[in-house]
């Protein structure tokens, strides 16, 4: 029973972590809260759904829709953030312009897909065989989702640590002006950051859609705010923190459900977040972690 709950928490947490990593990456690099992240999460899920309906294999639909989400991220930056960056507009303006883009993306999705829930019809998705491993049970689909999320986070960590792009991203996060003086192309680095962050957010959306085999217009609403709890827990701007925070929030939620507190689980999640913000606003890891990644 306990082992099963831990496993459920890990499965849920992996997707939270994946979503939050992109959220926090943008904050770490640009000091802005991107409220269109959840809209891209949803858009990617619908894109993957359409591609899979078009007889594309599920894995290919996943890859293509993730790339589409990344490109959407670059567009988002060009439309909503780049113009404000040029005039140093502070924190409130980008928050509002990202809400504007989120509304537009939501409206486009509604116009294209209507308000009905969509399901992937790929064969075998709902009848995936259960795997019994000691005290725990899970399906092969759940396992694939979990492993995809982990793999993407490992790749991100490698990019940030070991590649020139990663070094540039960290340099811009540390000090935008100094990085520019040292010859880092700011706009290109920021575009790459948005491509990666939105790609990961989109991947989280596709995986969430597959996990419950349900794609809806409002699927991004719960994770948008829970993602905030995750990045606060880990420390705004900390990628490692977001991963750990994702698993903690996943565990809190699963255990709340297991102990019959299901209706109260969101209050628990945000209670933890609120308490941590008051006691330690820099979170468990603080912003430094991205810079040292």
């Amino acid at each position: 029973m306990l082992a099963q709950q831990v496993l459920n928490g890990l499965f849920l947490g992996a997707v939270y972590a994946l979503f939050a990593v992109g959220y926090t990456l943008v904050f770490g690099v640009l000091d802005i809260l991107n409220l269109a992240h959840a809209a891209i999460f949803t858009a990617a899920a619908f894109t993957a759904f359409s591609l899979a309906e078009g007889a594309m294999p599920l894995w290919a639909a996943f890859v293509v829709a993730t790339l589409v989400a990344g490109v959407l991220g670059i567009l988002l930056d060009r439309v909503a953030f780049a113009p404000l960056r040029r005039r140093n507009a502070g924190t409130l303006a980008p928050l509002i312009s990202s809400i504007g883009v989120a509304i537009i993306i939501g409206a486009v999705l509604r116009a294209v897909y209507g308000v009905d829930e969509r399901h992937f019809t790929t064969a075998g998705l709902d009848s995936a065989p259960a795997i019994h491993l000691g005290p725990v049970t899970f399906t092969s689909v759940e396992l694939a989702i979990f492993l995809s999320a982990i793999a993407l986070m490992v790749v991100l960590s490698w990019i940030l640590r070991a590649t020139t792009l990663g070094r540039r991203i960290r340099a811009v996060a540390e000090d935008r002006l100094a990085a520019a003086l040292l010859g880092v192309n700011l706009e290109r680095t920021i575009a790459a950051t948005f491509f990666i962050a939105s790609g990961l957010g989109g991947a989280a959306g596709i995986l969430t859609g597959l996990e419950y085999n349900s794609v809806t217009l409002d699927m991004g609403a719960p994770i948008e705010l829970k993602g905030l709890a995750v990045i606060i827990l880990g420390g705004m701007g900390s990628v490692t923190g977001a991963v750990i925070g994702g698993f903690i929030i996943g565990a809190v939620e699963t255990f709340a459900i297991a102990y019959g507190l299901s209706p109260w689980r969101d209050a628990l999640v945000f209670g933890v977040m609120f308490a941590l913000l008051i006691a330690r606003p820099s979170g468990l890891f603080g912003k430094r972690a991205l810079r040292q990644a």
């Binding site: 924190t91 509304i103 116009a111 209706p263 969101d266 609120f274 008051i278």
Partner: protein, 282 residues
Amino acid sequence: MSPLVEFYAKHSQLIDQIGINAVLALSLSVSLQAGQLALAQAAFMGIAAYVSAILAMNAHWPLPATIAAGIAASTLVAAALAFPLRRLRGIFLAIATVGFGEIVRVFANNLSITGGAEGISGIPNDATTPVIYGSLALVAVALVVLSRTKFALAVTLVREDEHAAQGVGVDVGTIRLLSLALGGAIAGLGGALYAHAAFFIAPGDFGFARMEEILVWCVVGGVTSPLGAVLGAGLLSILPEAIRFLADYREITDGIILLAVILFFPDGIASLWRRGAVRVKS
């Protein structure tokens, strides 16, 4: 029927809504003018809406008494929040207050006295147009009077530079507490009016979507003045009705307008009027 009466009969619901929205926008503008991105207005609104609805339904209190009780409740909660929030600024304050709002929503969803997810229906529909606009006028007058006091000066100082404010003897903590409580009180008024104009309330009415809406009104109108908040709430409430022929594209036009205002008129629509005035003078 005279044309005016006819117009009112046709649009009274929208007219009431605009008045309530303006009160809500004013409540947020009070925090924003103190430089605090505190986004719990929807929660304060909800607390007062539930308190006043429950008192009207279960205890049969008259309207003014239920409104007063609702305002008292939301003001107390807002003031109590000031202490834990005292060290938070900017985005962190915004996130903490959004989290608080979610907690309030979960409570409304699960308590039996609030009617759970189904909410409360059959609330006496006694917040009439004169009551709503009388309240709005009262708030506006109070804010104008307040803007001529030393309190307003201290608020401006705190917004521009907390350390400098402290340096000249302004008690920053008290100013933050007072502006949060004042915002909570006005949001409470808006919430109580909402409950008595809507007939029906549910937890979803006071969630993050509502908070976003209030924030958008303020920013589109202009965060630097209360006038901007009222203007933003008014224009954005009328717009969907005015461009009915665009009904299918309503959401997308909302998003585009929001984006255009923030990109091209950073100080909001209210600043256009001021810009125009300056140009005429020069």
